[in-house]
Every structure is written in structure tokens, then in C-alpha cells.
Symmetry: C2
Subunit: 336 residues, 2 copies
Amino acid sequence: MSAEPSRPTMIDVAKRAGVGLGTVSRVVNGGAGVRAETASRVHAAIEALGFQRNEVARALRPGKKSASLALVIGDLTNPFYATIAKASLEVAAQSGFAVVLGSVDEDPEGEKRAIRELVGRQVAGLMIVPDQGDHSFLAGAGVPVVFLDRPAHGIEADIVMVDNEGGGRLATEHLLGQGHQRIAILLAPSYYTTGRRLRGYRRAHRTAGLTVDESLVVQLPEGTTEAAEKATGELMDRPSPPTAIFASTNFVAEGVLRALRLVADQPAVVGFDDFRMADMLPTPVTVVASDTEELGRTAATLLLGRAAGTNTRPPQRIILPCALIPRGSGERPPFS
Amino acid sequence: MSAEPSRPTMIDVAKRAGVGLGTVSRVVNGGAGVRAETASRVHAAIEALGFQRNEVARALRPGKKSASLALVIGDLTNPFYATIAKASLEVAAQSGFAVVLGSVDEDPEGEKRAIRELVGRQVAGLMIVPDQGDHSFLAGAGVPVVFLDRPAHGIEADIVMVDNEGGGRLATEHLLGQGHQRIAILLAPSYYTTGRRLRGYRRAHRTAGLTVDESLVVQLPEGTTEAAEKATGELMDRPSPPTAIFASTNFVAEGVLRALRLVADQPAVVGFDDFRMADMLPTPVTVVASDTEELGRTAATLLLGRAAGTNTRPPQRIILPCALIPRGSGERPPFS
DNA sequence: CCCCGTGCCCGAAACGTTTCCAAAGCAAAC
DNA sequence: GTTTGCTTTGGAAACGTTTCGGGCACGGGG
């Protein structure tokens, strides 16, 4: 057993450079108020010892939060979430912040535990894509919070999201404009976003003077491609199938497209959120999409402002617009 | 300006429960050697105050690393990396570890800085998808390291990677088996993995008694779809274009497919690494792939073992196998 | 009655940094 | 020569936890 070669501390550096502890600290933090000659001696000692500041000890001082942001987010395999993670990571990195990923169980209880954990780590701020359930326990945590993609209950905080209702309306209006009358909507059980998209769907119908056939509003048991595939198959097997489908999610859209490979009369399809290869499929997929990177960037920027105390405005609600990207699948006319 | 409602500490809890500081600590850490009655009083106080252990202070004690792993990885938007992140995150979470994402600049210098940062945060271990360049500076850090996907220079450490050469051979043999003689290989400039895949390509040729036409070995300036698309276009415009293309990366494969939309004589295509929708494209894409989740899981498990001191074996090199998934694009016969 | 375990609990020390106060050096002004 | 003020430096306190050496109370054995 060799003795653990414990990393050198500022004290070691101070001894070696023949200066006081405080001086080393000052040099490490930018070196204001230190003679150049002294500073260079300290730097030499740091170099020689391979000293590396212990961020943990640094963060212990009151007021100094650790320079990290927490990100509590769903399945990174979903390009929507991955894009958010990437964008926020980039913004954070520019300010010298690291990003801590919380464990991402699906149940609200796991989410709560993960968040507690993160708060205990003294992160400077939290970015959360909230599950359903109450988030009031965050109120007293003394950490700024920004919610992404959907609001949370029980707490006033910044939130950055997409114009779900507008997007839903856009998609539906587009399909109605092609002459479709029987438009199905497949909803992943994601509660809030899904609800708003449905609302847009309804509003588009109302505006057009149509009533929606409730049997075409399909609530999926899961947000997976498999569930969507199955539901789509059943939908198209009905006596009078829909002539168009609005898929409320990128995974749902994928499932829909899979199911449709076996179908003779191809309905029009519009998805929500863009995805890779959407334009490469046999008939390119029309989607309603927003700038997901912008969403992540905005949230991170906002949070950094809060964490730094620069931004003291009341909680903001930022809503990013959606645009329709016609590619083919949404422009198919109604069959029969 | 309301006074910052600083979070309660163990001292506050101790006062409120009418016990000593040490007792609170024991209760919080499992409560061995504390009378049940006392423990419940402490728990009540914790509940009442909303106490949350300060992990930073905890990690300050010598030996105690913070319960977090660092992950230094490329673009999360790349499903390959996203999958690794997800899998390792899950494993870490099971052991109560969080995952810190390092800033992911592309240049080696940025990577080095990011790693230093992470080491300073007292993470319990590092998972790194290494850039080229020397990583010997990690040797003295006193933190266990696991490299993913490619080895690093200047340091002995565990590494988990894919059988790149075998995969390259598999892909090439498959194409040769279809009667292709002019097989192009498009290489993203990722140095190591790319080099091994090329080696597999060469070996397959040699085994088949063929010499490779060096003009068909295309080194891309970038690993982007755009670069691959451009190169593919040029490739197919040659007087005698290849009848098959081996794309060394998922992004490269995408670029190839984009370019091929405009081409009359469709070459066979095999990609490296699977990707979403590969089976949904007009002609489904044949790929060589390995279990990326397994890669992430293995690395995380290995690292946790090192961090806990459970695993003291000499550094391991784990190589995951690749399998060919025929879907259509790789089974196209040579044209003309 | 004394001694010694055995549980349970207390509180000080230590971890490595930042920050604050004071001291020291020095130059300029008187 | 003294004062004043500024720059540079040293060192102690504080951050919130874990850990460790005791202390106290109680009970049983001698």
C-alpha cells in the first residue's frame, strides 16, 4: 500500500513560494494587488507542484456556490432532450460552469429525490424539465430554478417553453387547409404539452366551424414509438379511418410512420418537433417545430443571470414560436 | 432586500433537537449507535427545518470524494454519445452518483482545461472520450479514469471500446461478398477509430486477394454530414465511381445518403454505428453496430468499482463486438 | 463498595479555501 | 523627522461536515 499521494494544497504552494497563504489565494484568483515578481514566484510553485485548486473547499465558503448548474431532464436519447442538454451545456461552459445531470427516473418521487440531491450539492441553479406533481418543495431551497418545456406547480419561477397551442393549431390548420376532415391526433401522456397541443387542435377545428370527432383523439398509454405504432395500426383498421394524423411528439411520429408502412391509403402526417432524417424518408415528413437549441440556450442564460444576481426581475415566462415545415407528408390530399 | 434565508445546518438541527452535533451526523448517516428515541427527535427536527445535508462540506473531509462521476464527451446531439451518456448516467444513479458533464470544446486544449476543472471538483472518477493528444497530465491526479471509445496516450487506464477493426472488416467483407470490387471508404477525421476501421477495410481486401484503390480511400476534412455529402457527390461524379460505399460514422452515412438521392446508379452502402430511422429510409440502411448502451454501462460500472476501491486489477481493455445488420442498402449488387 | 464494561452522547479538531483585518514597507508631503 | 496614505503581504477566522477521543450513566461481577 503506497501512501495516497494527496494533492498539494495552497499551503504547500505558499511554503514553496515562501509567501503567505492569502497571497497564493489572490494569485490564483486573478492576482490583483500582488507584485508581479511575487506572483510569478507563486506561479512557479504552482507549476512545480501541479497544484489544482480544490473547488469543493472553495464552494464551502458562504455565498460561493459551486460553479455548476444542475440539469434534470428526461431520456437523453430523445433528440429533443439531447439538444437542450447540448445547448445549455455550451452556454454554461462559456461562463465556466459545469452541468450536473440528475438521475432521471421517471416517477415524480425519483425526480424529487434527485433534485434534493442536487440542491445538497450546492449547485448554483437548477434547470428542470418538470414531471407532473408538486414542486413547491423547491421554494425554500434558496436556489434559482428555471423550468423548461413545461411549467411546474407550487412555485413561481422562470419558465421557457414552446408555443404548444400555437403549434397544435398550426399543424391542424395546415391539414384542414388540404381538405382533411377526419384528422386524428395521437397524444403522448405528457400531460401539459400534450394538453396544449390538443387545445390548439380543437381551436383550429372550432375556427373552421367543425366539431372534432372525439374518437379521433387518441390518448396513448405511453409516449413510445411502439405505443404509437400500435395505436396507428388500430386507427387505420377502423371502418372509416382518418385521412390525416397529427403526431404530438417526435417519437409518436416515428411510430405512426412505422405503422403506415403497411397501410394502403396513406393519410397525411404532421409531427411535432423536428427530427433527424425527417426529410430523407420515402415521403419527407412535415413537422411543426421550434428552435430547441434556443430553448436550451435561453434557459441556461436566464439561470446564469439569476445565479449571478444580475437578473432580479419577477419570474418570466418565455414562449418560443413554432413554425410549420412542409415537406410532403402533410400535403397529401385526403384519400377516397 | 430580504435576508437570504440560508439553509439550516446540522448545528441548527442539533440545537432544535437538543442533542449534540455528532449525534445528528450519526443519525443522518444511518443512525448506528443512537437510541431510537433520540434518533426520532433528530428526524423530527430535520423535517421541521427542512434540513438538507451540505454535500460540499461533506466532500471536504479527506478521503471523501464527492459522489459524482465526470463525463467528458463530444456532441450530445450525436446519438452515439447521447446513448453513452444515458447509459452511464443510469448506472451512476443506481449507486447514488451524479454525473457532471464537462465543457466539450473540440480542441485538445479545451478538453484539458475541462478535465482539470473536473478534477478540481473532486469527482470520484472520470469517464473520457479522449481527443487526440497527450493525457499524461492525468496520471498524477489521483482519480481513477476510464476511457471510452478510444484509447489515450501517456497514461495507463481502463478503456472500453468497440471492435473497430473487426467492424470495418465485417462491413467490407459483406460488400465484397456481394461482388463489389470498387468499394469507397469515407473516413471522418477521428483519428483512432477511423484508423482501425480503415485497417479492417484493408485487411478484408487483402484476405480476398484484392489490392485497394487508394483513390477510394477518402479522408474527410470534417466528420459532418455536409462534408460527407459533398465528398460523396464528387466521388460519384468520377469517371468510374465506386459501386459501394462504406461510411465510417453515422453522420457520414447520413451525408452519403443525402448525396445519393441525386444519383442514378445507386451504390451499396454500409454504415458504422446504427441510427434511428435507418430501417425507415427508402432503402433501409445496412450497418455495422455494437451495443452502445453496453459500452456506457460497462465504463460506468468499471469506474465505480475503481472509485470504491473494489477493483484493483491492472488496467483493463474491454472490446465490445460489432455485428452486421443487413437491411437492404448493403445488399445492393454492383451496377453496370 | 469498588472496578470495569458497554451504550450512548458530546464537542473539538480537521478538511482547503476565501476573506478580512492588521502590519509592514515605502514614497510623498509636510 | 514625522505624518499620511497607498500597496503589498501575512495570518486567523469561518464555512458545515465527519471523526475521534473522551465522559457520563448504568449494571454486573468481584
